[in-house]
């Protein structure tokens, strides 16, 4: 099964006809991004934005007839700014396969674990042809650790977080993993966290661990996120602490631009 185009098993997808285009586009994107600023030296008030190219891991984003053009099926943008002891996040996720575009806004405490604070909001828009066109899901965390979600004035409970757990969001992991890199690498059992996936799905038993380092052409240090209800995802940091590649089960995010 060895393949000359292989970069790493966790992110180098080359299913069928897209081989070797996936690796080419991934490397091309990686080479193109600017990496002058180290995210860990961010100053108060500064805004940092990472823009990721979304590559489909399978079947050209489920349009097998579409054999021309780039593989990219969308863009994910993670923007955050620090305001005193608070991090404000704004995430935009646009996917031309699902047609659902998300704008996610949340706040985190200024801790390496980026614990979620007070309330958050997910605005979803469907660009497909069907009845569902848009939706706002507003959420908050109660003092008892209960996650509440509200859609169209109807509220549900989406689980309870143990008081001892650090609850963060998958979109904050772009900063959590760089901040905890040393801790993760030296821990035998990884770092245990709770994740509110896309601010809606609570994964209370999640674990961050480390993989090896590789040279893609740039040096990347690998990490993973595992847990109950989670498909494994793999996170690769460059020498500046920027999350350069995230390979989830179905797609690969590749850093193409850093602003700030």
């Amino acid at each position: 099964m060895a393949n000359s185009n292989t970069q790493h098993w966790s992110f180098d997808y080359n299913y069928g006809s897209q081989n070797p285009q996936f690796a080419q586009e991934l490397l091309q994107t990686l080479r193109g991004y600017s990496r002058e600023v180290d995210a860990r030296q961010t100053q108060v008030g500064q805004t940092i934005k990472h823009v990721y190219n979304i590559l489909p891991n399978y079947w050209r984003g489920y349009s097998r007839d579409d054999t021309e053009g780039p593989l990219s099926i969308g863009t994910a943008t993670v923007e955050r700014s620090k305001d005193d002891n608070l991090w404000r996040y704004s995430v935009q996720y646009e996917n031309t396969t699902s047609g659902e575009n998300l704008r996610i806004q949340f706040h985190c405490s200024d801790s390496p674990y980026r614990p979620l604070m007070d309330s958050w909001r997910v605005d979803a828009r469907n660009s497909g042809e069907d009845a569902y066109s848009q939706l706002t899901c507003a959420g908050h965390l109660t003092v008892d650790g209960e996650v509440k979600l509200r859609i169209n004035d109807t509220e549900i409970a989406a689980g309870t977080v143990d008081a001892s757990a650090e609850l963060t969001c998958n979109w904050a992991l772009f900063d959590v993993i760089p901040a905890l890199a040393q801790t993760i690498q030296t821990s035998n059992d990884g770092v245990h966290i709770a994740v509110l996936e896309d601010l809606e799905q609570l994964r209370p038993k999640s674990r961050l661990g480390s993989l090896e380092s590789i040279q893609t052409p740039i040096r990347l240090d690998g990490y993973y996120l595992y847990g109950t209800g989670l498909l494994p995802s793999y996170w690769w940091l460059d020498a500046h602490g920027d999350t350069a590649i995230v390979s989830t089960f179905f797609e690969t995010l590749v850093l193409k631009e850093r602003i700030g």
Partner: protein
């Protein structure tokens, strides 16, 4: 007459019957589907009509077996004159909605249902990671806005755990180390190899040609990849499969929460099932397309979270054989709608209410156009039709003269199907009884000739390969 109920049919994809906590599986956590079970009756002898997506779904849509629908495999086309459930309900006063995966080729879902969400690129076989969360959003939006006087029928087609297929595709062209070498999990985290990891060397020719030989007709590239696997790769496949199920369970949990929060749960019937199962290492096999238990046996739960609909709660029904053809008449029964004459299935409503009614004593299953199985309380009989010398594109059967190889398993004493009893003279009479039962069932079917050129090509190509194998094995 009391107000007719809303009906919510939630289906997952490639979900084996025992891959639920409620069924005693210790390797995954499915609190939300378990909650549906606690509010309803789970039919433990529930079988798909055909272990592949499009075929099984054509039975859900029509109440017919797949040799009748025109969709005997994924590349089939539903015969245009067969009414589907959406059409039947909508002319009888129901508002009918679809969300998520449909996968019934030949029938435009948007013409039979109002679609809440069907993807930007129409949902095909897989892609749960893209579609399932959006489907939940669409359903939450629907439930929190529904205020029509007429009842609704809503079917939600979740794609997971079908994405386990993509996990497997990922192994086609590259070597992925086992998880212990990856350093991501420990051996203790992994489920054990299945007890029936070995497989029967006397499987049908159809199964060998479709799934075992080097140039297998179905997903040969995956087969090539998994041949290099060690024990931990197989166990990690199972580990991943259970994570996919946990993921879709969480989606279902949000739908259930919104159903309750809106108060709609009082008068909403919930049916939960899956189109087919997943081999997940049993018989050294992956995916579906086989007539083994893991591939054909699926969950089927009828429930209500409120008191508005009479359903026996927190109960396993071990006795009654339920089939994918039963969805259509069950929904019609609850909806108080007449069932089209040709429908083969039976309403499980009386069973869910705890009433005894005359019922079939077997399940009948088809596979890959030529494959057949009969499941009884004691035995499972698997066989195949040999391809015709000159293909006429009429699905085969009933024809005892055309039958090929067979397998017989004692379900009570060998539930994992490890010992093929066909060659054992002690069981010759059992084999005959099973065969006769199968042929009698087939005599009741209304098969139609396949006319669409695309499935005809598949039948021609596959038939040629099968004929060649038979000739070489003489």
């Amino acid at each position: 007459m009391s107000k007719r109920p809303n009906i919510l049919f939630i289906n997952t994809d490639q979900h084996s019957w025992d891959a639920l906590s409620a069924h005693g599986n210790p390797y995954l956590h499915t609190p939300n589907i378990d909650e549906i079970h606690r509010n309803g009756t789970s039919f433990r002898q529930s079988f798909c009509t055909d272990p592949v997506c499009a075929a099984a779904r054509s039975s859900w849509a029509t109440g017919l077996y797949t040799s009748e629908t025109g969709v005997p495999f994924n590349g089939g086309y539903l015969h245009s004159e067969i009414p589907d459930l959406g059409q039947v309900l909508s002319v009888n006063g129901y508002n009918v909605f679809h969300c998520g995966k449909w996968h019934v080729p030949g029938r435009n879902v948007r013409e039979s249902f109002q679609t809440l969400y069907y993807g930007k690129r129409d949902i095909g076989a897989g892609g749960a990671a893209y579609y399932d969360s959006a489907s939940t959003h669409a359903v939450a939006d629907f439930l929190t806005n529904y205020n029509d006087d007429e009842p609704f029928y809503l079917q939600i087609g979740y794609v997971d755990p079908h994405d386990v297929c993509e996990y497997l595709h990922n192994h086609e062209e590259k070597w992925i180390p086992n998880p212990l070498e990856q350093g991501t999990v420990s051996e203790d985290d992994l489920p054990p190899l299945p007890e029936n990891f070995d497989y029967d060397a006397q499987e049908t020719v159809l199964h060998r040609v479709c799934r075992r030989v080097d140039d297998a007709l179905i997903h040969a590239a995956i087969l090539k990849g998994v041949r290099d696997w060690d024990e931990f790769h197989w166990r990690y496949l199972r580990w991943n499969y259970y994570r996919f199920i946990e993921k879709v369970d969480a989606e279902i949990g949000r739908v259930m929460a919104f159903l309750r929060a809106t108060g709609l749960h009082e008068n909403t019937l919930i049916i939960f099932s899956a189109d087919h199962g997943e081999a997940c290492g049993s018989h050294q096999m992956f995916q579906k397309f086989t007539l083994y238990e893991e591939s054909v046996r699926v969950p089927f739960i009828v429930a209500c979270f409120g008191d508005g609909i009479a359903v026996e709660k927190d109960r396993f029904d071990e006795a009654h054989f339920v089939s994918g053809v039963d969805l259509f008449p069950t929904v019609c029964d609850y909806a108080d709608v007449s069932v089209p004459e040709q429908v083969q299935g039976m309403s499980v409503r009386p069973l869910a209410e705890g009433r005894e009614v005359p019922w079939r004593d077997y399940a009948y299953i088809e596979s890959n156009y030529w494959g057949r199985a009969i499941v009884t309380e004691q035995y499972k009989y698997v066989t195949e039709y040999k391809p015709k010398e000159v293909e006429d594109f009429s699905p085969p059967g009933p024809d005892a003269e055309q039958l090929g190889l067979a397998q017989l398993f004692d379900r009570q004493n060998d539930p994992r199907e490890t010992e093929n009893l066909v060659g054992n003279a002690t069981y010759s009479e059992v084999v005959k009884e099973c065969r006769d039962k199968m042929l009698a069932q087939e005599a009741k079917l209304h098969r139609q000739q396949i006319t669409h050129p695309s499935p005809k090509r598949v039948i021609s190509n596959w038939g040629e390969r099968l004929r060649t194998y038979w000739e070489h094995s003489r």
